[in-house]
Amino acid sequence: MKRLRIERWSGQLLQQQPRRTPSRPCCLRQKQAALYASSTRFSSTHAGASSEDLIFEDGEEFGQQEQQTRYNSPPLEAASSSSKLAALHARLGLSPNLPLQTMARTLVDASADSNLDFNNASLAQLGGSIMSYHVSEWLLCTYPRLPMTILFAAAYAYSGPKTLQLVGKEWGVETAAAPGEEVDPGFLQFSKMQPGQGLPNGVGSVRPDRHGFYRRGMSSRVVYDDEFGDTISKGHEENLPLPTEHAYANFVKAVVGSIYLHSGSAAAKAFVKAHILSRHLQIATLFQFKEPVRELSRLCAREGFEYPVARILSETGRASRHPVYVVGIFSGKDKLGEGQGPSMQEARTRACVHALKAWYLYSPGSDVRVPSDMELRGAREWEAVHIDMGEVIH
């Protein structure tokens, strides 16, 4: 729902950060060394290289430093010898282009290792954007008439932290008891919250209208808030312990980001499609109407249909303890929906809900083309997708 500039982001990610700890080999560095040789100072620190090839900025020996410094995440060499990590890589069917070292990095959360060269924060940022892009373009093209609230909720259902935690667990990833250098790199490492500790609530928000007297309307959420319509908190401490579901979500996003970096955008899209969009959700269960009868009449007025009229289709046991009425909503001669209930009002309300859901859940088919299909070579010319006026406002 927001414009993304992924190509620019990945460029920023690939560039070198100012180093905090010297002489620690980093996994993404080895490929980018050639690309950014002119702009970087420490391009000679290859991950796969032996210790003789390393050049130390202070001229110190690697061994001397190693004894003093304890890193917060497993060293790079551990990745190639971890059977857990290799099994996870194979289980996800990832390409051999994606090295195990990067895979190990996706498992280190920012709360475990605050060094940006060694945690998954940047990969998660990139992967989260790619994922939410593919989810939202698929939702928008498949269900062009969804109201904004439902669109936010559907995006949350597909790529929200709760779902991503489920995804991560279904991949068979376990969490380490505590992060550290000695941990097997196949475990998800983050600093866990203690029992009884309150959830970290973000300090303030990045919205310019923080004051209470502003209404947080739906259209302002599109502009200011994140892809689920939640406010983005302003001050976020990276090192604080975080809930498990956020750690899993960061990991899953980081995997998508690393696939994008190592195998390209088509592979990242195929991965999101296979692991995120293939999951099961009945979007019809996300709706909650307040005044469906009124909303349906407004809809008919807007679309130029005849005024909707409720008519009893059949009934049974009117004088009994449990009557059932079946009511249809008609606009002229077209039946928009029907519902049944123990009273005529209830049946009419259900019929209206049915008609509204049928309107909002219009879909041109689940395999409709999405904008990113145009990135393929030899793609057919783009035909504009159905764009709706939007939800009914009354």
């Binding site: 069917g93 990832l94 195998s263 592979a267 296979a274 606009s331 928009l336 041109p364 070579r377």
Partner: protein
């Protein structure tokens, strides 16, 4: 009102198959080392998600599609491919796009002459242990007696033409039941014979159910002639 808009919109949105073959067509390496010597063919070069993007789509699809092969003489051979063009009835031609346009579909697919009424995403426990498959394999179910949606059903006589639909099932693994014991006792005899049985069953998941468009069906018919 709604049904009309849907119908109208359908007739022009025939979405082509995407250039990438679906990921579930990727080969599984596990089949090349099994206790029973089943698949002796050399593995096709392993295809990964990323390489799929670069390889030409038609070629990649060809290498992976033979999902089910004759394995042992015990296993029945797949039926010979149909060579004559599809003779679709006029009413089928008219109604098949409408059937395909409806949101969800079911198929009653036949496996070893037993029908299973399934939708996409369902789990099927076969009443037997399928030989020569490993978890992750994809089978294409090409026998079906009916195919339908909410308002339309296409019935076969007795089976549908296999070019009308594409139904793929993923082998999820093997399960068993708790062991059954049966006591066998003859009259006027103290001896009790206890018979134990524990069978294995293959679990399938319907990964894809797609109804081909009329152009695809007729195009494939003329090609094979």
């Amino acid at each position: 009102m709604l049904s009309r808009t849907i119908r109208r919109s359908i007739l022009d949105t025939r979405v082509p198959t995407s250039a990438l073959p679906p990921t579930f067509l990727l080969p599984n390496r596990a089949r090349y080392f099994n206790s029973t010597t089943q698949h002796v063919d050399t593995p096709p070069e392993s295809i990964y998600i990323s390489q799929l993007a670069t390889s030409p789509p038609a070629e990649a699809a060809e290498t992976v599609t033979p999902v089910r092969r004759p394995i042992r003489p015990k296993v029945p051979l797949p039926p010979a491919p149909i060579s004559e063009p599809v003779a679709l009835d006029a009413s089928v031609k008219e109604l098949l796009p409408l059937l395909a346009a409806q949101p969800s579909h079911y198929i009653s697919a036949h496996i070893h002459a037993k029908p299973y009424l399934v939708t996409a995403g369902d789990t099927v426990r076969l009443p037997f242990h399928m030989p020569g498959v490993v978890p992750g394999d994809v089978l294409r179910l090409n026998r079906a007696s009916s195919l339908g949606s909410r308002d339309y059903t296409l019935k076969g006589t007795p089976y549908l033409d296999e070019r009308i639909f594409e139904c793929r099932a993923r082998v999820m693994g093997t399960e068993a039941e708790p062991m059954r014991t049966k006591e066998k006792k003859k009259r006027r005899n103290r001896r009790i014979n206890t018979v134990k049985s524990k069978h294995k069953f293959t679990i399938l998941r319907i990964a894809e159910l797609k109804i081909n468009s009329l152009e695809d069906i007729e195009g494939s018919g003329t090609e094979s002639v």
